[in-house]
């Protein structure tokens, strides 16, 4: 069992960093969503995480409970497609953190999160969604820890790098899921907003972990 207080603080710091980042990137994410969606992804994400930051501040409880509250809050604040995808999946995956945050539980969390996103959204890799950033990130993270036995910080850096490639990978794709799919071939050449916000979140988690 790890030290609850330290973990709580780390989670609080991470949430704050993510919230700040998404607020800062609000216009950018909305611009991406304007091109192939409905111009609200920035507003959705910044509204959701601002509320999360407000709420989680007050929360005690263990890390699993805090993360679950993050998910619940996102579910009830974000709406749209990203609300249930982000929020519902975090909520679901938080079960893996019952014993606190360790290398092992973080891998389990990441896998459960990815599974739930895919299960709920029914999108394969290559459908030009957040799944395209998430899948390589989770795969890299898992391999770095479980196969290569690297420290979590290094593993997380690899995940960020993988997510970045995933985001770039969405650009030339024709969308098959989400609103971008309505555009058919016209979606080609545009970067997916949800993949991008996924990358931003991972980048902030890494930055906080590095401190």
């Amino acid at each position: 069992m790890v030290d609850d207080d330290i973990q709580r603080e780390a989670v609080h710091a991470a949430i704050e960093a993510v919230a700040d980042r998404l607020v800062a990137e609000k216009a950018y994410l909305t611009d991406l969503d304007s091109a192939i969606g409905d111009a609200d992804h920035g507003a959705n994400m910044s509204r959701g995480f601002t509320k999360v930051a407000d709420k989680v501040e007050e929360l005690d409880g263990d890390v699993g409970e805090i993360v679950k509250t993050v998910g619940v809050t996102l579910v009830s604040e974000v709406g749209g497609a990203s609300g249930p995808l982000y929020g519902g999946s975090i909520m679901h995956a938080s079960q893996e953190l019952g014993d606190g945050l360790t290398s092992e539980t973080s891998v389990a969390f990441a896998e459960a999160y990815l599974d739930k996103v895919q299960d709920r959204g029914n999108a394969e890799v290559g459908a030009k969604t957040m799944v395209d950033a998430l899948t390589p990130a989770v795969h890299s993270y898992k391999k770095a820890i479980e196969v290569d036995d690297l420290p979590p910080l290094t593993a997380l850096a690899k995940a960020v790098d993988a997510a970045e490639r995933g985001v770039q990978f969405t650009v030339p794709l024709r969308a098959r899921k989400g609103r971008a799919s309505y555009l058919d071939w016209r979606s080609v050449g545009h970067q997916d907003p949800g993949a991008t916000s996924t990358l931003f979140i991972l980048e902030e988690l890494l930055a906080v972990a590095e401190e």
Binding site: A35, G37, N44, V75, G80, R176, R179, D184
Partner: protein
């Protein structure tokens, strides 16, 4: 772009209060939620009909609350599906023990949130059925899309299901007629201008003075195709042929048509479109039972229109003609 609003973040909240202030005898807001229900909800002995989705489509959805149509409507942020907890609260408030039909427009966000809400409500012993409307013929329903979108045909689902529920039919029957509309309706839309969301404050897409977008949805998404500017007659022909090709109706079939304005189109222009639409119905040997013209399912201030055709049999005619008394649609 200028708007008659205060803070963008407050616009949905203030709109809902403004609606209740306009119809205090008809509408009630669920305390702490962005949900409006009939003032007298739940209505004893009646299946509840609820809908909801992103805001910005006014008078959809709350404008259709009332006798013969909806019992409740949840308002998400602009163009963003309401969250599952809001939807759950609405479902519960509209259940009189006969169950509730959720009319869902086919967007992944809406579908996922409504599904979650249904699970939540069922855990509290509310019987819930769902109908997913996907009338937009611009989008092919294929492996390469998340399916057709739900657009203006949704209003006809509200109307038919609402009338059936008002008759005292049970949930299965109400769901059946809702699905009958879904199976028989097609819509195709176009835009002369993009809409401007309160949050972004600028057009979602840029469109030249000599261009238009075909196959748009109702969320300011760019359409499936950009084309050179056309006359109203040409536009009407294009939209109508697309819808008819999809529906593939027999000659002599009775239909209800809708010319729907996207919010920024003067009514004058909608009637110009309707003139040509009715000529085309005639050319195709379709018998128009009723022709609706107006702003039913909008995209904020977008200029443009959609054309809906719904094949109707005796049952649907009776349900669509049945009385309704709502702020936005009255049939007597």
């Amino acid at each position: 772009m200028k708007k008659l609003i205060n803070e963008p973040a407050d616009v949905v909240d203030e709109m809902l209060d403004g609606m209740v202030a306009a119809y205090p005898d008809r509408l009630r807001r669920l305390d702490g939620y962005e949900v409006l229900v009939r003032a007298d909800a739940p209505v004893d002995g009646k299946v509840g009909i609820v809908s909801g989705g992103g805001s910005g489509h006014e008078p959809t959805h709350a404008g259709y609350i009332g006798d013969g149509m909806l019992d409740g409507a949840a308002a998400g942020e602009v163009f963003t599906s309401p969250t599952a907890d809001q939807l759950n609260e609405m479902v519960k408030a509209c259940d009189a023990g006969e169950g509730v039909l959720c009319v869902v427009k086919n967007y992944e966000g809406d579908v996922m949130n409504f599904e979650t809400a249904a699970e939540m409500a069922e855990m509290e012993d509310v019987e819930v059925a769902q109908v997913v409307v996907d009338d937009d013929v611009a989008v092919e329903d294929s492996l390469y899309t998340s399916g057709r979108r739900g657009v203006c045909g949704t209003i006809l689902v509200h109307k038919a299901a609402g009338a059936k529920a008002a008759e005292g039919a049970d949930l299965t029957e109400v769901q059946r007629v809702a699905e009958k509309v879904v199976d028989n309706v097609g819509t195709m839309g176009m835009a002369l201008t993009s809409c401007v969301t309160p949050e972004k404050g600028e057009p979602t897409f840029d469109l030249g003075e000599d261009e238009l977008e075909l196959g748009i949805g109702i969320h300011g998404e760019p359409g499936t195709e950009r084309a050179d500017m056309m006359s109203a007659d040409e536009i009407t022909e294009h939209l109508t042929e697309k819808v008819l090709a999809d529906l593939d109706l027999d000659s002599g079939q009775e239909v209800v048509t809708i010319v729907n304005g996207m919010g920024g189109t003067p009514m004058m222009e909608l009637f110009v479109v309707n003139k040509r639409l009715q000529e085309l119905m005639d050319d195709h040997d379709l018998v128009v039972h009723d022709a609706w013209v107006g702003d039913y399912m909008t995209s904020l201030d977008m200029m443009g229109c959609s054309i809906t055709v719904c094949a109707v049999d005796d049952e649907l005619k009776e349900l669509l003609d049945a009385p309704a008394d709502t702020p936005a649609l009255k049939v007597q």
